[in-house]
């Protein structure tokens, strides 16, 4: 079976500054794959390039059997790809409900969009309670929940999460990641998770890649990596 997402020899950067220097990875259906690494290793650049926000300078990206290397970001949701950006990036002056509805922007059928809205509010009851509040007034944890829920509205096959733990308490990080795991089990989602919090990331992931200065230096099953002394020393503070 071919992978859901296959990235081959990907190069990307800002202006003339290269950040990614030929990285390759794959994500199978139903898998949670983590990318871990220090600040500035190129983790967010990788998700930017896959989502189309930052056109790659080399390499190929195949998603669901189609070449999506040069595709603009706004075509992502319709093809089954969703990115939860760092910090959630909710629309602060729109209500929680409007944020969620916009997650389903590419769903043409209004009744279907409302059905999904009710569904995500059942999955995340706190969002139902905050439904008519401005998203900018949410707490950090609620904001991240809302961003994940917004991404789910397009029923993606692949959800990419950029540093969901940033600025959150350890308890909240566990709750968010547990919610993601539940979604994976329930709706058959695949997840590509970029995290600086290596301990948490390796706990929820099936497989992981270690990114260092624009290259993958290690990869394998998450458990194996979590037990690897090199990973423990460099990234887990053990």
């Amino acid at each position: 079976m071919s992978a859901l997402l296959t990235v081959t020899a990907l190069h990307a950067g800002y202006g003339t500054v290269p950040v990614l220097r030929g990285v390759s990875l794959y994500v199978n259906a139903g898998e949670i794959v983590a990318i871990v690494g220090a600040n500035g290793a190129g983790k967010s650049t990788l998700l930017g390039a896959i989502s189309g926000l930052l056109p790659p300078t080399g390499g190929t990206i195949m998603f669901r059997g189609a070449d999506v290397t040069a595709r603009p970001a706004h075509r992502g949701p319709a093809s089954g790809m969703a990115l939860v950006p760092e910090g959630g990036r909710l629309f602060p002056f729109l209500t929680v409900e409007d944020n969620l509805l916009l997650g389903g922007f590419t769903v043409a059928d209004k009744a279907e969009r409302l059905r999904r809205l009710n569904e995500v509010m059942e999955t995340f009851p706190i969002l139902g309670e905050r439904r008519f509040q401005l998203a900018g007034k949410l707490s950090g944890g609620e904001r991240q929940m809302c961003a994940v829920a917004r991404a789910i509205m397009s029923r993606p096959a692949l959800m990419m999460l950029d540093e969901p733990s940033v600025g959150l308490s350890p308890l909240m990080v566990e709750r968010i990641l547990a919610a993601v795991q539940t979604l994976v089990a329930r709706i058959g989602l695949s997840v590509l998770l970029v995290e600086q919090n290596t301990v948490e990331a390796l706990e929820v992931a099936d497989r992981a890649y270690v990114l260092d200065h624009g290259n993958f230096v290690l990869d394998g099953p998450a458990r194996t990596l979590a037990a690897d002394p090199r990973v423990q020393q460099a990234y887990m503070g053990l």
Partner: protein, 296 residues
């Protein structure tokens, strides 16, 4: 007492005209973050288009609107696509470009018309109705009603329809909007087109009231800027209500001080608001940071 009521009424009617121009300006600024200096020239083009439709097709200006709106809409989309979009990463240059457009449009129309003033007499032109002891121009009342319909309709569309929500999303965070599947460039084209279309509608509504010259745009754009700053950047109601405040200010200053001072009074208010309350009376606090944040 009657003269005071007359001044207030004149101010409100004048305010309706300013609101009409300011709403399109504020929509464009609120979403695309471009200060469109050429908005007054778009109104001028709308007026000339209305006159042409009136002369050649014998279309009443109020019907001519149906032709002028789509014309200016398409023109606005083309301006966004071919002039502003290539400058998207240089906001300062976009503003210079709109100023360049102001000069270009004004001078082209000046060359084509030879600078002669034009006015048309439509059924609404000389018509007045009596409000108590006062005579009120019907064309101005129509403009006031029209701007109210536009403000209510636009506010409704922006808050209720999916397209409206998408427009607001683009205004708040265009990168996140892309991730929702919204085509940001297309949204900008539609928004600029709509803003230009509203300027066209304003032109059609003003044709029965004003004598047309190629420089008439300047009469609208200056108060419209004052309106936008006073009412709040990016707010539909701000532009609507700000129009009346500026209209009333002009009428009162003209009557009680000196007509020559009316612009000085606006701009004193303009600067005062900028210093004391930069978000304007109805702007969302912090909204300007959202717009100014580096997004890509």
């Amino acid at each position: 007492m009657a003269s005071f009521a007359g001044v207030l009424l004149a101010g409100v009617l004048l305010g309706g005209i300013y609101s009409l121009v300011a709403i399109g300006l504020n929509l464009i600024f609120g979403v695309i973050r471009v200060v469109n200096f050429a908005q007054g020239e778009f109104v001028m083009l709308g007026m000339y288009a209305t006159v042409v439709a009136y002369t050649l097709l014998h279309l009443d200006p109020y019907l001519g609107m149906l032709l002028v709106f789509p014309l200016l809409f398409v023109f606005g989309m083309a301006v966004q696509r071919f002039i502003l979009q290539p400058l998207q990463n240089e906001p300062m240059m976009q503003i210079f470009a709109t100023f360049g457009m102001l000069m270009l449009l004004q001078n082209v129309v000046l060359a084509v018309t030879g600078g002669t003033a034009v006015s048309i007499r439509t059924p609404a032109s000389g018509l007045t109705i009596a409000v108590g002891p006062l005579q009120v121009s019907v064309a101005r009342v129509v403009a006031l009603l029209a701007v109210t319909v536009v403000a209510v309709g636009l506010q409704w569309a922006l808050h209720t329809t999916m397209t409206g929500k998408a427009v607001r999303a683009v205004a708040q965070d265009r990168r996140a909007a892309r991730l929702m599947g919204i085509d940001v460039e297309r949204t900008y084209m539609l928004t600029f087109g709509f803003g230009a279309g509203l300027a066209g509608v304003a032109g059609a509504l003003l044709t029965p009231i004003f004598t047309l010259t190629p420089q008439i745009g300047g009469n609208f754009i200056l108060p419209a800027f004052a309106v936008v700053v006073l009412g709040g950047l990016g707010s539909v109601w701000g532009a609507y209500i700000g129009g009346f405040l500026i209209g009333l200010t002009e009428a009162l200053a003209g009557f009680y001080l000196d007509p020559a001072l009316k612009q000085a009074v606006w701009f004193a208010i303009f600067i005062l608001v900028l210093v004391v309350r930069p978000t304007g009376l109805f702007g969302v606090v912090g909204a300007e940071e959202v717009g100014l944040r580096v997004q890509e």
